[in-house]
C-alpha cells in the first residue's frame, strides 16, 4: 500500500552527486559538442579522469528530463558505425541555464573550499 517515487538519482560509482549537478555536467558536455547518450557519458568520464562516472541507468532519465525542460533538443542521426542514434544538442535556453548553474557552482565550491581550508587549532 505504501508507494513512493523517489526522485533522488544515486550513482553507484565512486562519488554521489546531487541531481542538479548532474544536469550541469550533462549540459556542459553537450555544450562542447552534440552527441548521443553513450558518447556523452564516456566523454565526461574521460574528461574527469575516471572520477565522474554517470551510471547508465540514471543517464537516460536525466537526459529526457533535460529535454522536457527545453534545455536540450534531440535529433536522430546515423553514427560513425552506421547505426541510428539520438543525438542531443544544447538549446539557447540550455546555454543560459548552464551559464547560471556554472556561476552558482563556482560560488558554492569556492565557499566550501574556504571553509574546509581553515586551519584547525
Amino acid at each position: 500500500m505504501i508507494d513512493s517515487v523517489t526522485e533522488d538519482i544515486s550513482l553507484s560509482k565512486p562519488s554521489d552527486l546531487v541531481q542538479g549537478t548532474l544536469d550541469m555536467l550533462l549540459l556542459k558536455g553537450l555544450a562542447l559538442q552534440p552527441m548521443n547518450g553513450l558518447a556523452l557519458s564516456e566523454r565526461l568520464r574521460q574528461i574527469s579522469g575516471d572520477v565522474l562516472q554517470v551510471s547508465d541507468g540514471s543517464l537516460y532519465p536525466a537526459l529526457h528530463k533535460l529535454e522536457q525542460e527545453g534545455w536540450i533538443t534531440a535529433e536522430w542521426k546515423v553514427s560513425e558505425k552506421g547505426r541510428r542514434a539520438k543525438y542531443y544538442s544544447l538549446t539557447r535556453m540550455g546555454r543560459r541555464h548552464l551559464e547560471r548553474e556554472t556561476d552558482n557552482w563556482g560560488r558554492l565550491s569556492g565557499a566550501i573550499s574556504r571553509v574546509v581550508k581553515l586551519k584547525e587549532t
Binding site: 553513450l38 541507468g57 532519465p61 529526457h64 542514434a85 535556453m93
Partner: protein
C-alpha cells in the same frame, strides 16, 4: 522572450509525446538498444565473449525495462498512470466503508440533482436564445396599464405611428398570434397555432427558408390580398413527410378561400417563443385589423442602447395616448421595452420565472449545506487516518501525492453522486413539469412543455461545474489536513486522539455553518408555507366548498342565442331537481378561471370619473349558487328580461363610481366593453360583496354583473351547488346537460376547490419544495451536530471522569453536553439570522404578494434547530452520564 522560447520547447516536447506516444516509445527503445549494443561491442573489443559482453553491458545499464520505466516517469503518460493509481486506490478506500460511501453519494445525488433539475427548467424557459440573427439586439414593446401585467399588444394605428416616428430601431416587426383551422385534401381538419406577420418579419429576424421562399414586403401591400402562407419545418415533416412538392400546395384556413404555401421556414424556427410554438404564418393583411392584438418586436440599431430606445419611444407613445380617439384605457398606459433575445414574454414565463428563481436559491443553499456536512464527515475520516498518513509520510510519500490522493477520493464521490444526480434530475424535471401543467391553462396560448426540458450543453456544463466545485468544497479540507503533520510527533499523538486542535475548531465551524444555512432554509420555508396557508384560508368572497363547475363549448352548438338562452334556463331548472343539488346557475365566467371581459364604467352623466371594471354576465341564481352575499337591492329575476338593461355591482365598483352613496336605483354607463362597440347604460338594482375574480393574490376587482338574458352572449360556465360531495353528482349533471343541450359538449368539469388550487400552483410548488428541502437541510444539520457531540464526548472522556471524581453529578455532566450543543446552535443562529433576514427580503421581492413576516419565520427556524439540537444531544448526553468514573479516568 526567454520564457517564451523555453515554453515553446517544452510544449513541443509534450505535444509530440501526446500525439505520438507509440513512436516515442519505439524511439526510446531504439535509443536504449543502441546504447546496449555499443557497450556490448566495446566489451567484445576488450576481449569478452559476446554473451559475457552482453551481460556486462546489461548489468551496467540496470536492465532495459527499468531504464525505460524511469524515463517514462518523465513522460506525460506517467502522470496519467499515477492518476489511475490514485483512482484505483480511492475506489478501494470507498469500498472499504460502503456505508459512508452510500450516504455521501446519496446526499450528493440529491443536492446536485435538485440543482440540475431546477437549472434545466430555468435554462429551457428563460435562457434559451431564439434561433434568429443577433438575438441580443431584439427588444419587445409592451404596454402596461396600472395594476395589470405588461402586455405586448398594440393597435394598428399605434404600430404605424411607432414605426414611422422612431429613430432607434432598424426594423419594427409586427405580428399577431392566432389559432387557425386548417384543411387540405390530404390533411385532416385540425387546429394549428400560428400567426399573421408583417412583410419584414422573416427578413428582419434573419430567418431563412428551408424550401421555397418566405413572406416578404411584396405579400403585404395595402389592398393587395396575397393568399400565401409559410409553414414550419416540423409541420412540413409531420403533416407532409418533407414532400418537396409542398411549395405551391393549397390549404384552406378557416372559412376563407385557399391559400398557397410558398415556403417552409428554416428548421428550428417556431416563432418568437419556445413555449408557444407556431407552425404556420400568414400575411398580416389576411388577419384581423382592429383591436390591440398586434405584437411588436424591434431590432435596435447598432450602437443604440435599450435606455435610449426607452426614452425616445416613451415620448412617441405619448402622442398615441394623446390622440383624440384614444380610449380611456390608453391614456393611462405606459410603454415598456424589454430585451427579447430569449423570446417574447409569455404568460407561462410570467407565472414561473419568480418561483423558479426562488427554487434555484433554495436548492443552491441546500447543496452548500450538504457540502459542509460531507466536509465534516470527511474530516472525521481524515482524522482517523492521520496515523496512516503520518506513517506514509515518514516512509517517503510526497506531500503533493497525498493531497492528490485525498482530492481524487472526493472527485470520485462527486462523480458517483453526479451519476445518481442525473437520475434524480430526470425524475425531478418531469415531475416539476407535470405539476406546472396541472396549473391553470392560459386561454388562447398553447404550451409546449417539452421546450422546458430540452437537454442542452448549458445544463451539462452547469452540472459538471457544480460537481467539481462540490468536490473541491468538501474535499479540500481533508486534503489540506492530510498534508500537514509530516513529522514524528503525530505518530504518537494521533495514534491516540487522531486530531489536532485546529481540526476540531474547523469541524465545529462546519457544524455552525450547517446550522446557519438550515435556519435560512427553515425560515424561508416557513414564509412560503405560511403564505400558502393564508391563501388557502382566504375568504374569496364566495363559498368555495361543494361547488361543481362545468365548462360548455357553445361555439358550434348551432343554436341561436335566444334558443340557447331558453334551453339553458331549462337546464338549470332540471338540474335543481336532482337530489343532492341545492341550486344551479349559468354565467360567462367562473371565479378563478382567468381573465374575462372588462369595460370602462362611470356614473351616467359623469364620464370624467371613469374606472376600469371587470364584467361577468350571469343567470338568475348566480349569487345564491356561489354564496356571495347580497348587501342591498335585489337579484336579477325573470321579469328583467324585457326591461331596460340592469346591472348588479360589487362594493369596489360602487365605491369607485358612486363614492359613499347608495348606488341602487342609479344609472351606470359602460363603454369600451370587450368585443362590444358603443356605450350601454344600466340601472343598478343590486349591491353584492366583493369576490375574487381572476386570482386569489390580488384584491377583488370592481365588478359589474349583467343579466345574461339581456345579452347576446351564451353563458358557457355552469355552476352547481351541492349538498353532498360535488363529484358524486357529476355524472348526473352530465346526463341532464346532454339531454337538454345535445350539441353542446362538456369541455371540463371540476370542483371549485380544484379550480382554486390550479390557480395557485406556483405558490403550492414553492411551499411544498421549500418545506421538503428545509426539512432535509435541518436533518442534515442535526446529524452533523450529533456527530460532533458524540465525538466531543469521546474525546473528553478523561475530563468527564475527572469531573465526576471531583463531585460532579450525572445531571452536571448532561448539562455540560447540552450546553455544548446549545452554544453551537446559538453560534449558528447568530450567523444565520441576518442571512435569513436578507434571504427573506429577496424572496419578498421575487414573489409578488408574499407577506413580510421575517421575525416570526426566523424565530420558527431557530426554535426548530434548538429542538433538533436537544434531540441530537440526547444520546451523547446519556452516554456521558453513564460513564463509570474509574473507567473514564483510566482512559488516556
Amino acid at each position: 522572450m526567454m520564457r517564451l522560447e523555453r515554453w515553446f520547447n517544452k510544449s513541443s516536447f509534450w505535444l509530440r509525446l501526446l500525439f505520438h506516444r507509440r513512436e516515442a516509445d519505439q524511439a526510446l527503445d531504439e535509443e536504449i538498444q543502441f546504447h546496449l549494443n555499443e557497450k556490448t561491442e566495446q566489451y567484445i573489443e576488450k576481449g569478452m565473449t559476446p554473451v559475457e559482453a552482453r551481460r556486462a553491458a546489461s548489468i551496467e545499464l540496470g536492465g532495459v525495462e527499468q531504464v525505460k520505466e524511469q524515463v517514462r516517469t518523465v513522460f506525460v503518460g506517467a502522470w496519467l498512470e499515477i492518476f489511475t493509481q490514485d483512482v484505483r486506490f480511492g475506489l478501494r478506500l470507498l469500498r472499504k466503508s460502503p456505508g459512508f460511501t452510500a450516504v455521501a453519494v446519496l446526499i450528493l445525488g440529491l443536492g446536485i440533482g435538485a440543482n440540475t433539475a431546477v437549472f434545466s427548467i430555468i435554462n429551457g424557459l428563460m435562457l434559451h436564445t431564439l434561433p434568429v440573427q443577433d438575438p441580443a439586439q431584439l427588444v419587445e414593446l409592451l404596454h402596461q396599464y396600472p395594476g395589470e401585467p405588461a402586455f405586448n399588444g398594440f393597435s394598428w394605428n399605434a404600430y404605424q405611428i411607432l414605426r414611422d416616428g422612431n429613430h432607434v430601431f432598424s426594423d419594427l416587426i409586427v405580428g399577431s398570434v392566432n389559432f387557425f383551422k386548417v384543411r387540405a385534401d390530404t390533411l385532416q381538419p385540425q387546429t394549428v397555432f400560428g400567426g399573421n406577420v408583417g412583410g419584414n418579419f422573416f427578413q428582419a429576424l434573419g430567418v431563412r427558408a428551408s424550401a421555397g421562399r418566405l413572406i416578404g414586403p411584396e405579400d403585404v401591400q395595402i389592398g393587395h390580398h396575397a393568399p400565401v402562407a409559410v409553414v414550419s419545418w416540423s409541420f412540413w415533416r409531420s403533416r407532409f413527410n418533407l414532400d418537396p412538392g409542398i411549395v405551391g400546395r393549397k390549404i384552406v384556413i378557416g372559412d376563407n378561400d385557399a391559400v398557397t404555401i410558398i415556403g417552409v421556414a428554416e428548421r428550428g424556427f417556431y416563432g418568437l417563443s419556445d413555449e408557444a410554438q407556431q407552425d404556420i404564418w400568414l400575411p398580416i393583411s389576411l388577419g384581423p385589423s382592429s383591436g390591440w392584438g398586434f405584437g411588436l418586436l424591434g431590432r435596435l440599431k447598432p450602437g443604440v442602447s435599450i435606455q435610449q430606445a426607452r426614452a425616445e419611444m416613451a415620448v412617441l407613445f405619448q402622442t398615441i395616448a394623446n390622440l383624440p380617439d384614444a380610449g380611456p384605457f390608453v391614456t393611462k398606459m405606459k410603454l415598456r421595452i424589454e430585451p427579447a433575445g430569449h423570446g417574447v414574454s409569455t404568460p407561462l414565463r410570467a407565472m414561473l420565472s419568480s418561483p423558479l428563481l426562488v427554487l434555484m436559491v433554495v436548492v443552491g443553499l441546500l447543496l452548500l449545506l450538504a457540502c459542509a456536512n460531507l466536509a465534516g464527515l470527511l474530516l472525521a475520516r481524515a482524522a482517523s487516518r492521520q496515523h496512516e498518513m503520518a506513517v506514509r509520510a515518514c516512509l517517503g510519500a510526497k506531500r503533493g501525492r497525498l493531497i492528490r490522493q485525498t482530492l481524487t477520493e472526493s472527485l470520485l464521490l462527486s462523480m458517483m453522486g453526479t451519476a445518481l444526480a442525473m437520475l434524480f434530475a430526470y425524475v425531478g424535471i418531469h415531475g416539476l413539469i407535470r405539476i406546472f401543467a396541472s396549473g391553470r391553462q392560459m386561454i388562447g396560448v398553447p404550451v409546449h412543455w417539452e421546450a422546458l426540458s430540452k437537454p442542452d450543453w448549458h445544463v451539462l456544463l452547469f452540472t459538471g461545474v457544480i460537481a467539481i466545485m462540490t468536490a473541491l468544497l468538501f474535499g479540500l479540507v481533508p486534503a489540506i489536513q492530510a498534508c500537514r503533520p509530516v513529522s514524528a510527533q503525530p505518530l504518537q499523538e494521533t495514534a491516540r486522539t487522531g486530531e489536532s486542535r485546529s481540526q476540531r475548531r474547523f469541524g465545529k465551524s462546519l457544524v455552525v455553518s450547517q446550522v446557519a444555512l438550515s435556519v435560512v432554509l427553515l425560515s424561508s420555508a416557513a414564509l412560503f408555507v405560511g403564505y400558502l396557508l393564508e391563501l388557502r384560508n382566504l375568504d374569496p368572497g364566495f363559498r368555495r366548498d361543494h361547488l361543481l363547475l362545468v365548462t360548455l363549448d357553445t361555439a358550434h352548438s348551432g343554436y341561436q342565442t335566444a334558443e340557447y338562452a331558453r334551453l339553458s334556463e331549462q337546464l338549470v331548472a332540471r338540474l335543481e331537481t336532482i337530489p343532492g343539488i341545492e341550486s344551479a346557475t349559468v354565467s360567462s365566467m367562473s371565479p378563478m378561471q382567468g381573465p374575462g371581459a372588462s369595460a370602462s364604467a362611470f356614473e351616467t352623466g359623469h364620464p370624467d370619473n371613469a374606472h376600469s371594471v371587470s364584467i361577468n354576465n350571469i343567470g338568475p341564481r348566480y349569487f345564491e349558487t356561489y354564496g356571495t352575499p347580497l348587501l342591498s337591492g335585489r337579484y336579477f329575476s325573470a321579469e328583467d328580461k324585457d326591461k331596460p338593461p340592469v346591472a348588479i355591482m360589487n362594493q369596489a365598483a360602487a365605491r369607485n363610481c358612486f363614492g359613499d352613496e347608495n348606488p341602487i336605483g342609479k344609472h351606470l354607463t359602460l363603454s369600451h366593453i370587450t368585443l362590444t362597440k358603443g356605450e350601454i347604460t344600466y340601472e343598478v338594482v343590486g349591491l353584492v360583496e366583493d369576490a375574487k375574480y381572476n386570482d386569489l393574490q390580488q384584491p377583488a376587482p370592481p365588478t359589474i354583473y349583467r343579466y345574461l338574458a339581456q345579452q347576446t352572449f351564451s353563458g358557457s360556465q355552469l355552476a352547481v351547488r351541492t349538498r353532498i360531495a360535488p363529484d358524486a353528482v357529476a355524472a348526473a349533471v352530465r346526463e341532464v346537460e346532454f339531454s337538454v343541450l345535445k350539441t353542446v359538449p362538456i369541455v371540463r368539469s371540476i370542483t371549485m376547490n380544484e379550480q382554486i388550487n390550479a390557480s395557485i400552483v406556483p405558490e403550492r410548488l414553492i411551499a411544498t419544495l421549500s418545506g421538503w428541502f428545509g426539512t432535509l437541510g435541518a436533518l442534515l444539520a442535526a446529524i452533523g451536530l450529533y456527530g460532533l457531540l458524540a465525538y466531543t464526548v469521546t474525546r473528553r472522556t478523561h475530563e468527564i471522569g475527572v469531573r465526576m471524581a471531583l463531585g460532579a453529578t450525572r445531571s452536571d455532566v448532561m448539562a455540560m453536553v447540552l450546553r455544548d450543543a446549545l452554544w453551537t446552535v446559538c453560534a449558528g443562529l447568530v450567523l444565520g439570522a441576518p442571512l435569513a433576514f436578507w434571504a427573506n427580503s429577496v424572496a419578498v421581492s421575487l414573489v409578488h404578494g408574499l407577506p413580510v413576516k421575517s421575525p416570526v419565520s426566523i424565530v420558527f427556524g431557530g426554535a426548530v434547530m434548538i429542538v433538533l439540537a436537544l434531540v441530537a444531544a440526547y444520546i451523547p448526553a446519556r452516554r456521558a452520564m453513564g460513564f463509570d468514573p474509574m473507567m473514564a479516568l483510566r482512559c488516556e
